[in-house]
């Protein structure tokens, strides 16, 4: 393993931000890059990468990394925000993942994005540990942004029960995933159960998923469980349920559950009297893919995403 600083940024009173990358195998080869936290609350994403570094060290020592392949892992690109509990850039609240491909003469986060992208463009495969802007629990899944540049459909190689395809919106065009694709990297976003908090089981699952992908792409040679037969679905085909009112949110199911038509899966309560404002009923048999997770909910918030079971 070699460790290198791919970008450094001075601060007036803090120690410099030094973005570290950990490289394995043939460092002259750009085979796969795994990007962890770019936002200050993506602790789980950083942890998954840290575990990956730990595992790859052992694999490398034992000769399990294929010849002529190079692996780069960047656990955390924004610990200046992480250390002060902010999601976006510490000073101006801009989002590094809305600054790609970056600009080396531009503003601070454009320079950070440029510093990262200069190092990580040109990899054959790119996996970003991504997060969702709303508090909630997801089934671990992999997502591919389908663009005019998408050249590969390796979604099934992750061996997860579900993989999503998504059409990009205008604001996606400045994300890492989109720009990776623009520069010919086969890019995927991996979502684990959570963001701000660390979940060991979910992190281990994500770790195995990445290792499985690398195994199936012959980047590592190490026995690993083959995983699931993946159901690939379009994000727009999911059942999305919005909260019909605001109040206290009481979820009565969990991710992965198969729920039946008519089943009550959540209640919204009057926060001052506990009277039931609304019950969330399942419209048709489905699997719970996402549920909102916070005690208070605003009207219109996405409370559930369900995968219709008759799709398969």
């Amino acid at each position: 393993m070699t460790e290198k600083i791919i970008f450094a940024l001075e601060s007036v009173y803090r120690e410099p931000l030094e973005i570290k990358a950990f490289c394995f195998g043939d460092t002259s080869k750009k085979t796969i890059c795994i990007m962890g936290a770019m936002r200050g609350n993506e602790v789980q994403q950083m942890y998954v990468c840290a575990r990956l570094v730990q595992e790859l060290k052992i694999l490398e020592i034992n000769g399990h990394i294929a010849k002529n392949t190079g692996i780069m892992v960047i656990p955390c690109a924004n610990y200046h925000s992480m250390n002060i509990g902010k999601r976006f850039w510490a000073m101006d609240n801009t989002d590094i993942n809305r600054m790609f491909p970056g600009y080396n003469l531009g503003e601070t986060t454009q320079r950070i994005a440029d510093g990262i992208f200069t190092e990580i463009q040109g990899f054959e495969y790119g996996i970003q540990l991504a997060s969702f802007y709303q508090p909630g629990r997801f089934l671990t899944h992999v997502k591919q942004m389908v663009t005019e540049f998408t050249t590969d459909d390796g979604l099934a190689y992750f061996g997860l029960p579900y993989a999503l395809k998504r059409s990009p919106k205008p604001y996606d065009t400045t994300t890492l995933n989109y720009n990776w694709q623009l520069w010919n990297t086969k890019a995927y976003s991996l979502f684990t159960h959570s963001t701000d908090d660390m979940k060991e089981d979910s992190a281990e699952n994500a770790l195995n998923v990445i290792m499985r992908f690398m195994k199936k792409r012959e980047i590592i040679n190490y026995p690993i469980h083959a995983g699931y037969v993946t159901s690939i679905i379009n994000e727009s085909d999911m059942l999305q349920i919005h909260s019909p009112c605001g109040g206290i949110c009481r979820i009565k199911t969990k991710i992965g559950d198969v729920v039946e038509r008519g089943q009550i899966i959540a209640e919204i309560l009057n926060p001052l009297t506990c009277e039931i404002f609304a019950e969330i009923e399942v419209p048709e048999k489905a699997t719970v893919f996402f549920h909102f997770e916070s005690p208070l909910i605003v009207e219109g918030t996405v409370i559930f995403k369900l995968v219709k079971n008759n799709d398969f």
């Binding site: 503003e107 605001g246 219109g300």
Partner: protein, 313 residues
Amino acid sequence: MIKTVSQINLAVNEKLKIQKNSIKNGTSKKRICIVTGTHGDELEGQYICYVLGKYLKENISRLNGTIDVYPALNPLGIDSIMRGIPGYDLDMNRTFPGIESGTMPEMIAYEILEDMKGADICIDIHASNIFLREIPQIRMSIPTSEVLLPYAKMLNVDFVWVHASATVLESTLAHSLNSTGTKTLVVEMGVGMRITKEYCKQLVDGIINLLVNLEMLTDVEVGEIREPVVSLDGAVGFVNSPAAGIFVPDTEFGSIVSEGDIIGRIVNPLTGEIVENAVASCSGLLFTLREYPVVYGGSLIARILRQEDKKND
């Protein structure tokens, strides 16, 4: 008349309401929208809405048409000094055109857009953020400039910046409205979290001039209207901080600078040293200047509208 454009139940005993003041008189079907408060830290538009509302109330008999004033598209952001939408950490001006059955921000964006669609002109007023001070200016993309430029020239601003299109900007209110044929001009002026009365008055005079030109206001006196400098991207020079430190300006905002002039210094208060000088990248009008002193390498210090070097003539 105060109308609610969109409303949604918050979690505890409160409704979020997006409201407008629909000021109407006469028989004309013409309608102008004045909209601001998309970013909760941009407050210049608050004073403009107040001054314009007061003026129209006092001159209602001279109005022929409808002026819809939307002072706060993001009321929770304004109330909590947050640029984005509190609870979502989303930039509201990246949520348009919205989705009718989408998330809370998308639903609100959709309803706002539906309400504004079909107006003859929409003026979307932004202040700068807390970091930069801007002279009153209008920004538009190249594809919209042919249609918008004649109206921009009526608005008494100093500068019109015609910039290249960017896909990411397709999620803005202005792009979404312009795409539906509602002519929308974006104003940038002043600085975040503050009101610059002089600039607000300048723009209100411009809006009154626009209304006179559209024959929606009659029998009113309009003062002299400025002829803005119209410029393309290539004419704008950027000065980014060469180092981290505290920026101390040495040049007056709005002044003419020559290439190589020291705009300000990046200093280190701990060591008592000048770390770097921030130097003008070209000669011209200093139309943007950093207001917030703390900088990282790359922080925007200034923008300069490239002009002939008049100082040396």
